[in-house]
Symmetry: D2
Subunit: 88 residues, 4 copies
């Protein structure tokens, strides 16, 4: 992974960790459930965007090489697996 | 697309069309909302499985060729786009 | 269900059925997989909006009555079930 | 919120925070993208289960009271909003 990509991904994860701690604070303060649910779904979206970024990097850095080396079947299986997980 | 794959996909679509007509019948009969919602979410799952099948075919039939021809960037963009749509 | 709501829901289902037939036509014409996937994910979104409409009607027409009659536990279970299905 | 529910929710959040830190460690170690994506999607599932638990508590503790007090429209709007967010 290139340094720039890695830093961008780590930055996203730091923010996500902060969001999770924010949700914990809301639960400790017994805040209104619907407000907590909104924060929680924003955090899920942030993880989902992290995954988009990571997959983008994977596709552009590795997949082309894998296919040129002839690992087509492995690539296909992995992407399908990621695709199914994405919808969970 | 190979004939066998095409037939399998068409078979899935026929079933999905039948499921949509089944939901329409339930709405016309004014059946219980929760039962209709269950049918509807089963239909969404069926469409989602159709997409898995189609993507699997796409990856194994086309993507390797595209990358060998050097269309790496287009492949990456298309798969990312499909990935984001999958999560909607 | 009120007539107006029922008609709106049936109208949505007719459109969805048309979309599914459109996808079948695309598969029969052996169109580009990514274009078919886009149509398919638009159809899933349309089903999802149909569910929002139906749930909205269910909540405003039935849930209040059910709770006033004391069926709180059934209502809770049903809504949770719908919520889990929504994420599939 | 009852103490038992609150503790259960805080316990889930602690685990989720640990999972996010685990993903950060994987990115720092430059581990294989697909493995990171799998961890990330497991974390999204854990957040999603946290939301199910929280919504279950909300429905059984508050919604019945709100409806008995006559806040039916607010309840309907909030649940629909949560439902739409769940699918994001």
């Amino acid at each position: 992974m290139q340094d720039e990509t890695q830093n961008k991904l780590l930055h996203r994860l730091n923010r996500i960790e902060g969001q999770v701690r924010g949700i914990r604070q809301m639960v400790q303060n017994d805040e209104y459930c619907i407000d907590i649910l909104n924060q929680s779904s924003a955090t899920r979206s942030a993880i989902s965007s992290f995954e988009d970024e990571l997959l983008k990097n994977h596709l552009s850095e590795h997949v082309a090489d894998q296919i040129k080396r002839g690992d087509t079947e492995q690539v296909t299986d992995e992407i399908l697996h990621v695709f199914k997980n994405a919808k969970k």
